[in-house]
């Protein structure tokens, strides 16, 4: 009788894949992690340049709670502050979200909307925003931002895109007070899976976000195999039976994929269940990072720019993490919504930098004279687009998974959801025990069938 249990195959050596393998290990299941690229970490990579500026790919929000769960908190520094404002005019930067209540026209229209409008179908993002926040705030702030990072008009987006602010007003005020009192960047609404609390705050690991991936990878029973792209996932009777990785077929009954869901669909052999996810679109980002002299150039760490700027968000990360840039220098990140092939995506690096420098004046008047250098990154997987067009399929993926037994699509790109690293972690912690049990059950059944075959052949 066969005693070897086939391993669970994890596709992708980014944070989601590594955490999946970590949780599988805790559940007593061996996992093999295959990464197509030359190194682990994927979208969670970090590096420090020759001038002493440190970068991650994109923005990540990491809490002391998440780091404690991984046993990494001792290697982290606490962020002394974090805040967001909305740029309405050169002088007006209401703090998000409470400060927006200080703008009379927003309050008036929000109240009016509540009084006037009867409940109706709110499945479209534009309607839902106007209903929830009032027409003025929606049209002047929320919808332009949503459209910029989604790349679609708000009347073509699903309202489910906004089910993502888990903290209420009173709690937000309380958490802000705690932030002031403790001088720590208390997390407000950056985790969907677990609640905000005064004792949960933003931290940042030494070595950047990549250090988290390295720490998790170091704890795995088997090293991650890099340069091993997944080519096929074999199914039989709507159940995973194997994978083909870098030209090699491997038998398995369980695959955990962190690939973008629309890419995963292209690997499936023997089933068309995932075909409906093929049309899912990710919105790309062009990220322009300006290295400047000076510090605290912005009114707060993040400035949302719904109007008058070609980018939708400007971030000065060294305000929250002073140690990621040399003293008296800073980094300003401008984020453009873009799509591979469109005009913004096609800009040269010089054009992109010039477009930022020439438009940042209202926020940083002397930006040109401060400029030390810049880098440009094009990220095709910025945001999953919650298009109305495929909303039923998106909801089905969220509720039921892939529809193929033993095939689990996880992580931000795999689940096609607006989740951050910590959400991915807690979701995996909840999901993996059932996946491990299923894997075990199938393996036992398979080996006992094999055992029967063996007995017959011996007889």
């Amino acid at each position: 009788m066969s005693t070897s249990t086939p391993p669970v195959i994890v596709l992708g050596g980014g944070i989601a894949g590594l955490l999946a393998a970590h949780e599988l290990g805790r559940n007593g299941v061996a996992a093999e992690v295959y990464e197509a690229g030359p190194r682990i970490a994927g979208m969670a990579a970090s590096h420090t340049d020759a001038d002493g500026f440190s970068y991650d790919v994109g923005a990540h929000f990491v809490t002391n709670r998440f780091m404690a769960a991984l046993g990494m908190r001792a290697n982290c520094r606490v962020l002394p502050r974090y805040g967001e404002v909305v740029h309405l005019s050169a002088k007006k930067h209401p703090v998000y979200p409470i400060g927006l209540l200080g703008v009379p026209r927003f309050v008036r229209s929000a109240v009016w909307e509540k009084v006037r409008r009867p409940k109706r179908d709110l499945s479209v993002a534009a309607d839902r925003f106007r209903h929830d926040y009032g027409r003025k705030l929606a049209d002047e702030v929320a919808l332009p931002l949503l459209e910029a990072w989604s790349g679609l008009p708000a009347d073509q987006l699903s309202a489910s895109v906004i089910d993502k602010i888990p903290t209420g007003l009173a709690q937000t005020i309380w958490l802000r007070m705690a932030q002031r009192m403790t001088k720590r960047a208390v997390m407000i609404g950056y985790c969907k899976e677990e609640p905000s609390a005064t004792g949960v705050f933003h931290v940042y690991p030494d070595g950047g976000i990549a250090a988290i991936c390295q720490h998790v990878a170091d704890g795995l029973a088997q090293p991650v195999q890099v340069g091993q792209p997944a080519e096929k996932i074999y199914t039989d009777g709507e159940r995973v039976v194997g994978v083909r990785i870098a030209g090699r077929d491997i038998e398995t009954n369980t695959v955990i994929s962190t690939l973008p869901i629309n890419r995963l669909t292209q690997l499936i052999e023997g089933s068309d269940r995932l075909d409906r996810f093929r049309r899912f679109q990710f919105r790309g980002l062009v990220l322009v990072n300006l290295k400047l002299t000076g510090r605290e150039l912005l009114p707060d760490v993040i400035v949302w720019t719904p109007h008058g700027f070609p980018y939708f968000r400007v971030t000065e990360a060294p305000m929250a993490m002073p140690w990621i840039a040399p003293v008296d220098k800073t980094m300003i990140l401008c984020e453009f919504g873009a799509q591979p092939g469109d005009e913004v995506w096609a800009m040269t690096d010089e054009e992109a930098v010039e477009r930022c420098v020439s438009t940042l004046d209202p926020l940083i008047p002397d930006v040109r004279s401060r400029l030390l250098g810049a880098s440009v990154l094009r990220q095709p997987l910025g945001y999953p687009v919650f298009a109305l067009d495929y909303e039923p399929d998106r909801a089905a993926l969220a509720a039921e998974g892939t529809g193929i037994a033993g095939l689990h699509s996880v992580g931000r790109n795999g689940e096609f959801d607006h989740i951050l690293m910590e959400d991915t972690f807690w979701r995996l912690r909840r999901r993996i025990p059932a996946i491990a049990r299923d894997h075990h059950r199938c393996s036992v059944v398979a080996s006992s069938i094999e055992g029967v075959h063996n007995e017959h052949s011996t007889a």
């Binding site: 949780e23 805790r26 001792a74 403790t182 609390a197 005064t198 004792g199 993996i432 025990p433």
Partner: protein
């Protein structure tokens, strides 16, 4: 000190000690607010089935000498240092112990598991029947040395490997010990084996069903005692623990203690960088705070939600 000790505490992931699950959900996160033995933070999680609160990850056994420093209060709770508080606590605890031990034979064998410096055994020796045979076990050499210094009969080892004869103990104590150990089920099973059939175990531990826990569980609850309390119970998880260890629950109630309340306040103040004169109002040496919280917690004990669980378990006949 924290910087030097940074590397010396290593962590390991663990499962729920009752059901073996590894899907605990986060409840609180905090640091060693009291002794600052490590710069790690610790996560308290709740088992979704058992309601057990446990640290995951937690320090490895090799880290124990670091997280229990020499000045740790269980090794150094003496009359000289703690004066009035020591007197009051001694009197209260002696009364509680003797009440729990009522009806025992005159020559009963009593075992204190995790006896520390022998504080409770000493109380029994002073206030209990003279015929009782008193034994103790503890794994910490410093605690055992202190207890032996008092002239007590104490073994330096875990109760699982005690040299005492199986079925020889009438009455076992496990006072604020179970929360410190890695495998409470194994400890209770071992105690069960040492007990005579029908013999009783008197167990005291922090109560996660208390209002103090409810209010401060996110970070500052005194009962976390980060990172030294590894498993914490309420009435429901205590019943499950007893069941897993094949012991009967004879009595399950709560009792009053000001300690967790005091430390919840103190930890909050320490964490929020309050001035030291304010922090020092809340400690084991601060009689006014202890008195006030004793009165306060007594009210919660009346409605069954005192700071400590008070449990009497019995080895089935």
């Amino acid at each position: 000190m924290a910087a030097d000790e940074r590397e010396s505490v290593t962590l390991e992931n663990v499962a729920c000690c009752i059901c073996g699950g590894v899907d605990g959900t986060p409840v609180g996160v905090g640091e060693d607010f009291e002794y600052h033995t490590t710069s790690h933070s610790f996560l308290a999680v709740r088992c979704p089935r058992c309601e057990l609160i446990y640290l995951d990850p937690r320090p490895t056994p090799a880290s124990l000498p670091v997280i229990y420093p020499d000045e740790y209060h269980a090794f150094a709770f003496d009359e000289e240092q703690f004066g009035l508080v020591h007197k009051v606590r001694s009197r209260l605890e002696a009364r509680r112990l003797l009440r729990a031990g009522r009806g025992l034979p005159a020559d009963a064998h009593v075992l204190d598991v995790g006896c520390g410096d022998g504080f409770h055994l000493d109380l029994l020796r002073q206030h209990g029947p003279k015929g009782w045979q008193l034994h103790g076990v503890d794994t910490d050499a410093r605690a055992v040395a202190a207890a032996r210094g008092r002239g007590l009969d104490v073994e330096e080892q875990p109760v699982e490997t005690s040299a005492l004869a199986p079925g020889s103990i009438d009455f076992a104590l496990c006072i604020q010990t179970i929360e410190h150990v890695g495998d409470p089920v194994a400890i209770l099973r071992a105690i069960g084996k040492l007990l005579k059939p029908g013999g009783r175990l008197y167990l005291i531990t922090d109560n996660t069903g208390s209002p103090d826990f409810k209010i401060t569980k996110g970070r500052h609850w005194g009962g976390y005692h980060f990172p030294r309390h590894w498993n914490l119970f309420n009435k429901a998880s205590m019943r499950k623990l007893a069941e897993a260890a094949d012991l009967e629950v004879a009595k399950l109630s709560t009792t009053t203690s000001p300690v967790n309340w005091t430390y919840s306040v103190r930890n909050t103040l320490v964490d929020w960088n309050a001035p030291s004169w304010m922090v020092n109002r809340f400690s084991l040496k601060a009689a006014p705070a202890l008195a006030a919280f004793t009165a306060f917690d007594t009210a919660f004990t009346v409605i069954g939600r005192g700071a400590l669980l008070r449990v009497i378990l019995r080895r089935p006949q």
